[in-house]
C-alpha cells in the first residue's frame, strides 16, 4: 500500500469516527432525548471521628435510567451524573477509535491505544501499592504508623515482622537493574524468583498434567451400559485412546517415521491438526463474543437502539419493529 493510500485510509477512519459521534449527539438530542446518560442514586454518609470531627461524603450507586426516573418521581435522590455520563461517552468514543484501526493506523487509534496503556499501567501501580505494598510490607514493618495512616482496622495485636526485611532487601536488589554498573546484582533476586516458581511448577505440573492425566486415558474400548452396548461412549473412548497413542508416536523421534510407525505418526499429525482447528474455532467464537459485547454496549447503553435489560424509559425503536421483521 502506498503512503498516499495509507494516509487516505487514516483520514477516512478519523472521518468515520467523527461522523459516528455526530450521529450519536443528534440521537441523544433529537431522536432519543437523554440517550447515553448515566443515572445514580445519591446517599449521604456522615462519620464522626474520635476527636468529634464530622466527615461527610456522598455515595453514588449506579441505577438504570428507568429506575432513576422512577426514583426521581418518588422524591428519592436520583439524578443523571455528569462524570459517569462523560465516562460512558468516553468509553463509546474510544471503542469507535479502536475500531477505526481496521481502516488503517490513524491519530485517533493511536490516542486510544496510548490511553489504554497509560490507564492500565497507572491502575496496576495503584493496585500494586495499596493491595501489596501497604498490607504485605509496610503494615508488617510499621504496624502502628500504617494503622494510623492507611489501615485503621489493622489489628491492635499486629507486631513488627522482621522477616519482611528479606523480601524488602530482595526488592531493592531487583531495582538495581536500573543502575548499569551494579545491575548484575539484580540476578540474585531474579534467581530466587525463578527457583521458587520452578519448584512450585515442577510438582504441580507433574501431578496435575502428567500423573492425573494417565488414569483418564486408560478407558474401556467397548462400553457396556445399563441398556447394553453404548455406541457413543465406545466410539468416544476409541478416538481418545487411539488419538493419544498416535500423538505420542508422532513425538517419538528415536525411531524413524517409516512404514507402520510412519502411518501412525501421520495420523497423529491429523489429530493435532483437528485440535488446532478446534482451538481456532474457539478463538473465533471468543472474538465474536467480544465484538458482540462492544456492539451491545454501543447499541444499548450509548444509543438506546435496543433495550435487552429493560433499562430505558421508553421501549427502544428497534425492539418495537424487530418482531415485525422476524
Amino acid at each position: 500500500m502506498t503512503h498516499a493510500a495509507r494516509r487516505g485510509n487514516a483520514t477516512f477512519g478519523v472521518l468515520l469516527v467523527l461522523i459516528g459521534v455526530a450521529i450519536a449527539i443528534l440521537n441523544a438530542v433529537a431522536l432519543r432525548p437523554g440517550a447515553g446518560t448515566q443515572w445514580t442514586q445519591r446517599t449521604e454518609h456522615v462519620h464522626t471521628l474520635e476527636d468529634g470531627t464530622e466527615v461527610r461524603w456522598t455515595e453514588h450507586e449506579a441505577v438504570s435510567v428507568k429506575e432513576g426516573r422512577e426514583m426521581a418521581a418518588a422524591d428519592q435522590d436520583a439524578a443523571p451524573l455528569l462524570s459517569r455520563t462523560l465516562g460512558l461517552w468516553g468509553a463509546a468514543i474510544l471503542t469507535l477509535c479502536i475500531f477505526s484501526f481496521l481502516l488503517g493506523d490513524n491519530p485517533l487509534y493511536k490516542a486510544a491505544e496510548a490511553i489504554v496503556v497509560g490507564a492500565s499501567a497507572a491502575y496496576w501501580m495503584v493496585i500494586g501499592f495499596w493491595e501489596t505494598m501497604v498490607p504485605n510490607l509496610i503494615a508488617g514493618l510499621f504496624p502502628e504508623w500504617t494503622r494510623s495512616n492507611f489501615m485503621p482496622r489493622l489489628s491492635e495485636d499486629a507486631s513488627v515482622d522482621f522477616l519482611l526485611l528479606i523480601p524488602l532487601a530482595l526488592s531493592v536488589l531487583l531495582l538495581l537493574r536500573l543502575a548499569p554498573k551494579i545491575g548484575w546484582i539484580s540476578r540474585w533476586p531474579t534467581a530466587f524468583i525463578i527457583g521458587v516458581f520452578c519448584g512450585l511448577r515442577f510438582i504441580s505440573s507433574l501431578e496435575a498434567d502428567f500423573l492425573s492425566q494417565i488414569g483418564p486415558t486408560i478407558k474401556p474400548l467397548i462400553v457396556i451400559g445399563e441398556n447394553g452396548f453404548d455406541l457413543e461412549s465406545s466410539f468416544s473412548n476409541i478416538v481418545l485412546v487411539l488419538g493419544t497413542l498416535a500423538c505420542l508416536v508422532y513425538f517419538f523421534f528415536s525411531v524413524e517415521h517409516k512404514g507402520a510407525i510412519g502411518k501412525v505418526a501421520r495420523s497423529g499429525i491429523w489429530m493435532l491438526m483437528i485440535t488446532f482447528g478446534a482451538a481456532f474455532g474457539y478463538t473465533v467464537m471468543g472474538r465474536i463474543a467480544l465484538l458482540a459485547g462492544r456492539f451491545e454496549f454501543l447499541f444499548d447503553d450509548w444509543l438506546w437502539l435496543i433495550d435487552p435489560k429493560d433499562a430505558h424509559p421508553a421501549q427502544a425503536f428497534l425492539q418495537t419493529i424487530a418482531p415485525m421483521l422476524m
Binding site: E61, A62, L102, L103, Y123, W124, I127, G128, E131, T132, P135, N136, M151, P152, R153, S155, L200, R201, S204, S205, E207, A208, D209, S212, Q213, G215, P216, T275, A278, A279, Y282, T283, V284, M285, G286, I288, A289, L290, L291, A292, G293, R294, F295, E296, F299, L305, I306, D307, P308, K309, D310, L318, Q319, A322, L325, M326
Partner: protein, 286 residues
C-alpha cells in the same frame, strides 16, 4: 469472479463481519440452546449442594474478556444465590474486584436483597501472587486473607468462622480469562487434595482446548466460551426462570445469534479462500 474474489478488499470482509454481528443484536433474535454434558455437570455440581454450603467464587478476569465471561460470572452468582449458598468472592486479577462489585450490585442487591454481607456473602478482594496465592490458601486461607476487601478483620466476619483452608469449601467456582486462572486452580488447589476439592469453571474460548483434558476427573464441569455461558443460562432459566426474566440473566443467550451468523460468514470465507487458492494453483499463480 476469480479476480474479484482474489482482489477482495479486507475492508469488505470487516464490513461483512460487522453486519453479521450487528444485525442479530439489533433484531434481538435468540436461538434455543441445549446443554451439553460438560455444562450440565457444572450445573448439577452446584445443584447438588445444600443450603448454607460454601462456594469459593474466584473472578480471575478483566474488562478485555468481559464480553465472554461476564455472562458466566452473573450466572454462577445467581445460581449460588438461588441455592442459598454462602459465597466467598476473591480475585487474582487486579480488576477482578470491580466485577465482584458488579455482581453484588446487579444480582445480589437487586434480586436477593435479603442476603446479608458477612453472613451470606463476603468479598475477600484481590490478592497479588498468582498461583502462589492458590498454593497458600490450599493450606492456610486465614493468613493469606487477614481481612476482607472492606478492611474488616476476618475474625469479625461470621461466615469466616471455621474456614481454615480451601478444603473447607464445597465447590470452587472460577471464571478465568487466562493466567492465573482455571489451569492454576487445577494444578495447585485440586491437585493438593483431589478428594476434597471440587472445581467448576468458566473460561474463554482460547483457553477451552487446554482445559478439556481436566474434565471430568480434575474439573467437575466447564463452561467453554460464550456457548457454555448460554447453555448454563438456559439450564438456570429452565430451573429458576420467572416471568419478565431480567435481561442480565440472558446475556449469553443473546450473544449466540451473532455467533451463529458470524460463524456462517467465517465458514463461507474459509471456503471462498480455499477456492481462490486452488483456482490460483490451477492457473499457476500460487
Amino acid at each position: 469472479m476469480y479476480e474479484f474474489l482474489r482482489d477482495l478488499d479486507r475492508r469488505v470482509i470487516f464490513s461483512l463481519m460487522a453486519l453479521a454481528v450487528a444485525v442479530p443484536i439489533l433484531l434481538q433474535f435468540t436461538p434455543p440452546e441445549k446443554a451439553t454434558p460438560i455444562v450440565r455437570d457444572a450445573f448439577e455440581t452446584i445443584e447438588a449442594l445444600d443450603e448454607g454450603d460454601r462456594v469459593y467464587m474466584a473472578f480471575d478476569f478483566d474488562p478485555a474478556s468481559a464480553g465472554e465471561l461476564q455472562p458466566m460470572a452473573t450466572a454462577f452468582v445467581r445460581h449460588a444465590c438461588e441455592k442459598k449458598l454462602k459465597i466467598y468472592f476473591t480475585a487474582l486479577w487486579p480488576v477482578g474486584p470491580q466485577f465482584i462489585k458488579n455482581a453484588e450490585r446487579d444480582v445480589i442487591s437487586r434480586d436477593f436483597p435479603d442476603m446479608v454481607y458477612g453472613e451470606d456473602f463476603v468479598d475477600l478482594g484481590f490478592k497479588t501472587g498468582n498461583e502462589g496465592v492458590i498454593k497458600l490458601v490450599s493450606n492456610d486461607l486465614r493468613t493469606q486473607y487477614p481481612q476482607d476487601a472492606r478492611g474488616t478483620p476476618i475474625d469479625d466476619i461470621p461466615m469466616m468462622e471455621s474456614v481454615a483452608s480451601i478444603r473447607d469449601f464445597d465447590v470452587i467456582m472460577n471464571v478465568s480469562a487466562g493466567y492465573p486462572g482455571t489451569k492454576e486452580w487445577v494444578q495447585y488447589a485440586v491437585a493438593s487434595a483431589p478428594d476434597d476439592v471440587k472445581l467448576v469453571a468458566g473460561c474463554t474460548g482460547v483457553q477451552a482446548p487446554l482445559l478439556y483434558p481436566y474434565y471430568p476427573q480434575q474439573l467437575s464441569g466447564l463452561l467453554a466460551a460464550i456457548k457454555g455461558a448460554a447453555e448454563y443460562e438456559s439450564l438456570l432459566l429452565g430451573k429458576y426462570g420467572r416471568e419478565n426474566e431480567p435481561g442480565i440473566y440472558q446475556e449469553g443467550l443473546r450473544r449466540m445469534a451473532p455467533q451463529l451468523s458470524g460463524h456462517i460468514l467465517m465458514v463461507g470465507l474459509i471456503f471462498v479462500g480455499n477456492l481462490v487458492y486452488f483456482m490460483a494453483r490451477k492457473r499457476g499463480e500460487a
